[in-house]
Each structure stands twice: as structure tokens, then as C-alpha cells.
Amino acid sequence: MSWDLLASTLRVSTPLIFAALGGMFSERSGVINIALEGLMLLGAFAAAVGTLVTHSPWLGSAFGMAAGVLLAAVYALFVIRLRANQIVAGTAINMLAMGLTPFICKILYDVTGSTPSIPLHERFHSVPLYLCWALVAACVLWMRYTPTGLWVSFAGEHPEALDAAGIRVNRVRWMAVLVSGALAGMGGASLSIFLSSSFSRDMTAGRGFMALAALIFGKWKPLPTALACLLFGFADAVQIRLQGVAVWGGHPIPVEFIQILPYLVTILVLAGFVGRSHPPKASGTVFEKG
């Protein structure tokens, strides 16, 4: 494998890793996070706008994370406080993000397609890549060694036990979902101000779902999940590489087919893995006292 391909794999995996780690927090605490896709999308948009306004990718990503947190708060309000079905509410959040981003884009820049492009020197060049791996390490340590890490695990596995131990289950879940929003927002940010030069409509293109797949593949543990993201990232990098390459008879494979590759890998991996990876026991359930 050439160094190029490796570098490209690492780069395109970055948003996936952020989002998947975000998903880990929420799902380990018992809240299924189908909304990852929408959180990422809004994060990508807010980060692009933030960077255009402040001319700093750091502040821009702060915008992205804040937007993720905000939307995650709406999600948490519905599923934790109002006990809505998590799949339905998550899908609604995704649709909201898909509709909201072009709408605000139109208001701000009078186009629905994409934001103006961000000058090269105002974008991130490699920071998110290092950051996401530092975060993987931090998550491993955090889950293993801190009380809050333990609480999150129990909130998703046996919430009644956590409650009986004197910890408020729904408080833990709220925090976990908000953190999940921040990280998914950062994932979106690394898509718009690190991998590309602007936000474009629906630019997440299913990466939120791929992050969920990585979580399943990685058994909801930070390091294996990140490695699963690398696998999907690799498929994506290969796909980019193959575009325009003449394979046989001098004709290139149509781009549309090549672009299927990462999704195909996701499906195959998941199909081979279903039944062997078990989500936290209480995932998707509402916690009620008594």
C-alpha cells in the first residue's frame, strides 16, 4: 500500500471517528443515536459558517460543536424527557438537519447548494486528524478509569442498578447525548473545514450511519470502533483513487459505481457481523423509576 493511500485513509476516516466516538457516548448510555447523521450535517454547516465569519478554523469548529450540542439537546428533550421513540425522533432530527441547512444557507448566502468556499489558510490542514486519535485514547482511558465512564456504561446496561446506586440515570444520559452532539458536530466540522473547502448540501452522505455501523463492528468500544472507521475510510480512499482509472479495455468504471464501494463494504461487514455484536442491554429503552 502506498503512503499516499494510507494518508488519504487516515484523512477521510477522521469525520467518521469523531462521529462514531460521539455515538459511543450516547449508545453506551442507552440512547440509540440514529440522529448522528443530522448532528454531523448541522455541525458541518455551522463550522463552515463559523469559519467564514471568524476566519479561524478553531472558532469555526467550536461553532460546529455548539450546533451539534444544540441539536442533540433537542433530541435528548424528545427521547429522554418526553420519552419519544428513539428511532422515530432520530429520523426526525436527521430530516430537520437536511431541511434546515439549505434553508439557513439560502438566508445567509442566497444559495441553497453550498456555502462560499473557505480560503486555504483558514482551513485545518491536519489538526483534526491528530485530535481524533488523541480523543480515541482519551475515550479508552475515560471509559476504563473514571467514575463517569462507569456510570455511562451502567446507564446503558442496567439503568435500575445505577439508580439504586444513587446516581440519576437520566442526568447521565443527558450528558452523554450532549457530548455525542459535540463530537458529531466536530465530525461534521472536519468534513467541511478540513476535508473540503466549504459546506455543500447533504455533504455527510450517510457518514453518520457509517459511524453507527462502525460502532456495531467495534462492539461499542472506542479503539475497535476507531479501527472499524479506518476500514470504512480505507474503502473510501480506494474509491477516490479508482475514479477515472481505466480498468479494462481502456474504459473507466462509471464514477457512480465506484462511489458505492464504502457503502458496500459497510453492508458486507455488518451482514457478517450481525448477531455477534450485542448492544448495551438497555439501549433504546426509557428509564422510569419503579
Binding site: 478509569y145 473514571t146 467514575p147 462507569l150 456510570w151 456504561s153 451502567f154 446496561e157 442496567h158 435500575e160 442498578a161 445505577l162 439508580d163 439504586a164 446506586a165 444513587g166 446516581i167 440519576r168 442491554k281 423509576k289 419503579g290
Partner: protein, 510 residues
Amino acid sequence: MAFETPAAVELRGLTKRFGSVIANDGVNLRIQPGTIHGVIGENGAGKSTAMKMLYGIFPPDAGEIIVNSKTCVWESPADAIAAGIGMVHQHFMLAGPYTALDNILLGAEPVRCGVIERKKARTRLEALARQYGLPVDWDSPIEELPVGVQQRVEILKLLYRDAKILILDEPTAVLTPQEANELFRNLKKLRDEGKTIILITHKLKEVMSFTDHVTVFRAGKVTGEMPTSQTNPQELANLMVGRKVVLNINVPPAHTRDELAMEVAALSLAGTVAGSRHKLSDVSFSVKRGEIVGVAGVEGNGQSELLQAILHPREPLCRTSGTVWFLGEDVTHWEARDIRDLGVAMIPEDRQREGLLLERPVSENFLLGLQRSSAFSQGGVLNSRNLLAAATQAEEEYDVRPRDLAIPAGKLSGGNQQKLIVAREFQRKPRLLIAAQPTRGVDVGAIEFIHNRIVRARDEGAGVLLVSFELEDILTLSDRILVMYEGRIAAEFARGQVSEGELGLKMAGS
């Protein structure tokens, strides 16, 4: 009395409603410090509910909780824990994939610089474990530990938090007699150190031998409170149920038919079901129609595996070899549906996992497995009128409380969940009944009832395989007793051939 010692716990007029059900209706309770206080009562009488309020799981609708002369209003269990109260719940509060150590520390982690100090905690726990004789493998995931050890973990949780008032909700329901004795040794020791212990149980023997005072609940109210020395099991049973209960039913001799109800030959199992340590090796026996065969044994000696191999014959991971015949048919490779159609009824070991859909209403749970019978469905459409009528009648006959077909089965008290399953399974007029722990967690009245039903099924011609850790079930009901030890059948006795003591010895492998 002028100098009455202040109570460790006092409940005054505690009331709690769940929808239309009044779970606690003005409960008054005084518990002296440094005593073991028994709490008994029928299934659904409100014992767990009262204790959950004392522990802060949910707030009372009315009434006062007074701990050490202070009126307390709990926001959450955290407040109760801070006041020195600890509780072992009826259904354990342990998360399977996490280690025993983490389960104990949860919520009370010693922390330095944001990091859990597991080493320090472990040193303290090891000292506690030595002091009370409660050895636990700290690093094993809970799901790999036998139930008896899980119980130790629950108790260590309380000791670790230095609880002064210990609530134990049916701690012996899942323990073997040996494990229960060990538990009571510890409880006495704790009491002698000055701790106050509240013990909920359905076993009157335990109340008589180990408690200082006893309180009786009935239908959400306290109907009696007395020093244990001034009462006897029969009086307690009558107080609980509100009528005269026959503690030891009389079982007439069996009229065994020659027809076999079931037979297993050379059953062997390689893998083990979580929590037990023994495989199944070369087990063969048969049950005739009109006969009750009891399988006795200390938990973890292959009973779960035996049931697994008989009830889930098609599970590829579970059985390696052997044949199972039900009512003359080789059912080794049959579908559950066809086995059911033969006239087989079963009371599963784990009622919550295998016997009920906890989220679904009682009526649907009653229908489980009967959904194709022509009484309840015509042309693929459910006949809800018939279903509701039959379910209402069964609720009445089997005394499932509350009489509400619409509430989710998971909201029934533990004993009532069991009665619901029993009602459903007897409804099929079985020719073969496989009953695993049929009286787990049910009150004395219900035990009497279930015992009578099993005998009646036998007398109507059913073969019964009874697997139970309760020696009382085994000795009362079985026409033949098989003793399992380390995955084999170690001994066989006919009715009346063996005493409780001898049976205990055989179960321990001597």
C-alpha cells in the same frame, strides 16, 4: 413504657398507588435497632413497594419515613444511602458484562485525580470479604458468577457503603439451602455488630429461625406485628392469606400408567449455560404418565443444562448428543410448535426471560402458545371475546392480582408473574408437564395451590418432570426423586425412601 428505645426505622401511614392499584395503604412499621425484622405477606401485598420507598426509589404518595428519629424525604436512593440504608433487591441490581468489583463500586467509587482507585477499593473489599466469609472473584464479569456469588456481591455492596440498615428483599428465593444457611450466619453476625436488618421472605422457616420480630402484610396493609418467639408458622400463614392454609398437603399415591410421558437417553452437553459450572454427561431417565419425577440438586450441577437440552432441543450450540422422546415421539429435531401440539406444558426456570413478554399486557401473555388454538383464533383472526373471557376466568381461578388484564406483565409482583405462567400452562390440560422452579418467589398460599395443581395434573394422567432447588417441593410432590451431581444422575429414590438430611448429603456429592 417510659424509655422505649428509638426505632431505627419507622414508617407512618405510608401510601402508594400505581394507577388504580393501591400497593401500600397506610403502612405503619417500627423496626428496633440491632434486630432482624422479618416482613412477610402474600404476593403483591406491597412488601417490595414499601421497602423501595424506604430506599428512595420512588416517593410515597402520603405518609412519613422516619430514620433514627429524623423525618426523611428522599430525593433519590443517594439520600437513603447517605443515611445508612442499603438494599438488596428482589431482582438483582447487577450488570452482567461488568466485573464484580465495578458492580460493587458503582456510585461509591474512591477517586483520586479523577481516576477510580480500584486497588484501594479492592484492599478494603478483601478485608470485608475475609471478615464475613464472602469470597468473590473480583475480576470476573458478573454473568459468569453463580447466583450465590452474585448474592454475595450484593451484600458486599452494602457493607462497602457501610450501611447500618440493611433491607433484603427475598434474598433466599434463588439460593440453595446451603447458600441460605451461609447467608443467615452472616446476617446474625451483622446483627450482633449492631446493624438493623429487614428481611422479606416467603419462607416461614426462615422467619421462625432467624428473625426477632415479624410484620405481616396483606393487601397493602400491615395486618400483624409480633415478636417471633410468640408466634408459629401456621398462625403466620393464616395471617398472611386471611384463611387457613395447609402447609403440608397430602399427596395420595400415584396411579402410574405404563405409557411413557417422556424419556431421555444418553443426553450430553458440551457447553454450559451461563452461571453454571458443569456439563451434562450421559443422562438417561424416563417419566411415566401419572407420575411426578423430581430432580433435586444444588444449583449449578447440570439442572439448567438438562432443561436447556430438553426444552431447546434444536439449539445447535447446546446439545452434543442424545435423544429426547415426548409421549412416544422422538422430538429431538422438532419445532417448539409441534412439541406444544403434543400436549406439553412448561414452566420455565427464568420466568422473566423465557416465560413472559414483560412489556405486553397480561391478556396477551395468557395467550402465548395458545394463539393457534381454535378457541382463540378463527381463520387467523384472534377472538378477543373468548380470550378475555378465558383470561378473566383464569385470573380468578389462579388468583393473579391485580385482576387487570390490560397492565403489562412486568408490572405484576414477582409471585403474580409466576401465577400467570402457571395459569397459562395448566390451561392446556397437559399430558406432559415440565416444571422448573414452579414455586420460586410465591407465597405460602400459592405454594399450596400450585402443589395441588401439579398433583391434580398427575392424577389426570400427566407425566410431570419437576426440577426444583426447594427440597420441600421435591419431597412433597415427587413419586420418584433423581439427584443430580456434577452433571450426572447420582442417585434415585422412591417416595418416602429418603429423608431431607440424606437427600442434602447426596446433593452435596457424598
